[in-house]
Subunit: 291 residues, 4 copies
């Protein structure tokens, strides 16, 4: 949303935990003592009725950040964890997150991500595309990105997921389901070890489950939408990152809803992936803070 | 949305039924034979998979419409009903619909309707405001509109509804629930004999039932909305007339969601009431066509 | 927006002219006499203060339309032109409009049109892409669409336009400027003989001319937008087909505005092209009616 | 947008100036040394190409704030002004800003502000309403707010403005032009000594000047909007606080545009006034930062 600060020597510090006095000042002090200059700072607190949670995202500039990372980490550990009981993440902005994109046959969300990446809009490395169908292979490889076809047969889902996990392990920091039409098992989610973002083709929690556009037509809604969320074991119930809608009317057939909705899906997913990869999204129980 | 055509000698003809060849031509012919000039015409057909339904709203000008209404009605009955098996409604634009507004304690939807009416935005007569609380009486009477306080005690709901029905019978063409916090019984809906429009404080079908803003906060949605719909026996399941949404974030408390949502509620309800009273809304099963 | 009706035997009839009694009825009658069944009908009249103009778009089904086109055309000529003084266009829905897309170096609008076309969203034939730069040639040819590089050097613009006209003449029904960074001369517009649609990267009439995002940043606007319009000799002054906006804030740099704006540009242009090619857009002086 | 923190012992500190290292840390340190706990913190920097400006809004809690205000002010003066060369404002949240609302005959923006104030949505004191027409007097006084009628005759504008200034001097912290149809002179703006916010009935910079809805109709735009901005000597050129738009079509007459636009005007003005009064808006040359 603002200056990228993704070059070298820029760092991002994410702090969250129980709200208490002095956190902002402590962070400022530790960063200052290490020679870091705060470039931007976003802070939010949930109100008391929501449990008094604290969230902060700080971008800072520190010459020779890589060399000083260990020291800074140790100092933050002492101040934030030991003294204040907070959690934190310290990230070098220059380290791009590595993505695997999962797709089936529908290409609009996939192509949008590949194209934004090529344009320089997405600060990520796309390490691979994985699909249960071979259809989109040529399209993907044109972008010089590896495409792996892992069929998911009805009775061999566990084997397929094992194969997927082998591809992912150690190679990616994020899995993006770009209209991947298979449900990932709880075991897969346990083992994958990185966040998984999904795009759901409705304005959740409306039309949870399959066939949302058909059901939107039957219910006669006047807007259709899309929702990007982290995947959890509870289908369509994970923390929402971003949502948007578009106006429809009685003149739109189900196919029109799908077409209009597809435009919302790709915009919403692209925003969610970008924000996640800029460390702007903090999970808080089943909700998110998006700075 | 366009020229008002609500003066005298303007008529509105609403036709709906099973789609078949020749309906538009038949309507044009009958109107033409009676000396009427078509001023505007909206037509829609649902596609075959939705059952092939036909809808048409025609506004026409016919000198001395009141005097010729019976004849025209008879001719349309013959052509549209007897020959083509359609339903129709013929309305004089100058006959304003008479409204009863039901409220509880919250004033934002009520005041918005009263203001718009005074400004000449709503082509209706507001015949009365009915409330289960006395709080808003002074406010309503300032607009020279009768206010009736009908308490709804827990064990005497049937009596209260009977009293409400006595007030309404013969006096109104539409009941508007402008944040009326009581559920109307199936008996009431059976007997009231006019359409009932409700404003629900969520983007239905998300957050059906009570406490939608609290639940929206807990679910972490990024947009909140409102839905105006016809009331049926199935709570929050009636045909939707209009919906809209507004963006929210983690920074918004439940109270902020209520405040932002209230702005959407009053806009959505005002549009729905205006459209209904201009005969722009056609019910089709559990959906609507809005011209 | 609704059922496609783009198969064979579907026709579209566009009527416009001075508003007067009986037009709808006459159209219905002539179509009926030729065995056509009206599938959908949109009609609008500008109010008296705007000069009392009439517009109608009718989609109809007529078995063996191709064979009967000449007859129908003649009958409409007699009734609509000779008797009623209107203009009309009669179009077979199955005849897809042939497009030339003009681009420079920026690919977002171009690719969006190519993708949508491949997905079956745009009922057109893309006959060629013409560019003053060679950069996008490979990308275009992957879609099996001819790409012509016509350099436009400063002192040889007339020659370049002549070359462009040679490519276009007889081959296309519409020219789309998908971020083509050259101004077309009045001579070119005179000779090209087909409509030209441009996407302007601002919410016109705000920020007419060059550098709209830079100027939007300097002016501190809170929304940026895009406008698709027909090209006329008066730069950025042609009839507007579609516009949309997106929210921005002080946090957005000029580059962020460009990135966010690009998403609006491609959506707005795609809608305008689709609507034009479905004969939904009627020019009326310097404005449009969009059905 | 978030927790109100407008009770006693809450303070707001606004800092702006040339960006340089250490400002966030210095503010945190000074607040910490005085026993203040930071409740929320928003910070932004314009990028180098925009001159490297720094902005920060900090909300803090400090027991007995009123008693310690002078000390804190002095310490901030020393650190922020003397050492860092910044400007700052220190505000007690409990001190509500006092408003004068200027109107002419149109009531929608006025009524919306009065009603939101009564509802507790606007953290302000409405000290008076001033109008060049007597029409809205009764309406205003029903809210127990003084109404002053100051006619502005063509040749006696200077006298009228003098009378207005006499009413305002010392009594208000903000003047809100809620569709006040007179242009304030440069002299008035010089002397009034408090910010003046205006609502302009177009999406500026489109349709600067008079009659924007008429011109929007003639230009055939597909969206109309409204803009709340600080008033400067250059008409319609002041820093923009908030803008929004609503979709319109060829079916809308100029009167429809006015009606739809009015809904946008009142929402946009209400947001701008609320944000200003919560010290969320920082002027930066001819633009604003809105936290």
């Amino acid at each position: 949303m603002t200056r990228q600060h993704d070059g070298s020597d820029y760092g991002r510090l994410i702090v969250q935990g129980e709200d208490r006095p002095g956190i902002v000042a402590s962070v400022s002090r530790v960063l200052g003592e290490h020679g870091a200059n705060i470039v931007s700072l976003d802070q939010a607190s949930s109100d008391e009725t929501s449990g008094g949670r604290f969230f902060q995202r700080t971008v800072f500039h520190l010459p020779d950040l890589s060399g000083k990372l260990a020291d800074l980490n140790q100092a933050l550990e002492k101040t934030l964890v030991d003294e204040l009981g907070m959690e934190f993440r310290l990230v070098e902005a220059k380290r791009k997150k590595r993505l695997a994109i999962f797709v089936s046959k529908t290409d609009h969300c996939l192509l949008d991500l590949l194209w934004r990446h090529r344009r320089g809009e997405l600060p990520v490395t796309i390490s691979m595309v994985v699909s249960n169908h071979p259809d989109l292979g040529d399209e993907v490889r044109r972008f010089d990105i590896p495409f792996f076809h892992v069929p998911v047969e009805k009775d061999r889902k566990a084997e397929a997921e094992k194969e997927q996990l082998n591809l992912l392990k150690g190679n990616v920091d994020l899995v993006v389901l770009a209209r991947y039409m298979q449900i990932l098992s709880a075991d897969f989610l346990d083992e994958v070890g990185v966040p998984v973002i999904n795009i759901h083709h409705s304005f959740l929690p409306a039309f949870i489950g399959a066939g949302p556009y058909q059901r939107a037509k039957e219910r006669g809604v006047k807007l259709v939408g899309a929702t990007a969320h982290y995947v959890t074991e509870d289908l369509d119930e994970g923390p929402i990152i971003e949502q948007d809608v578009i106006r429809v009317s009685h003149r739109d057939s189900v196919r029109d809803l799908q077409r209009k909705g597809a435009d919302v899906e790709r915009l919403v997913l692209a925003r969610a992936v970008k924000w996640h990869c800029e460390d702007r999204v903090i999970r808080d129980g089943n909700t998110t803070v998006v700075f």
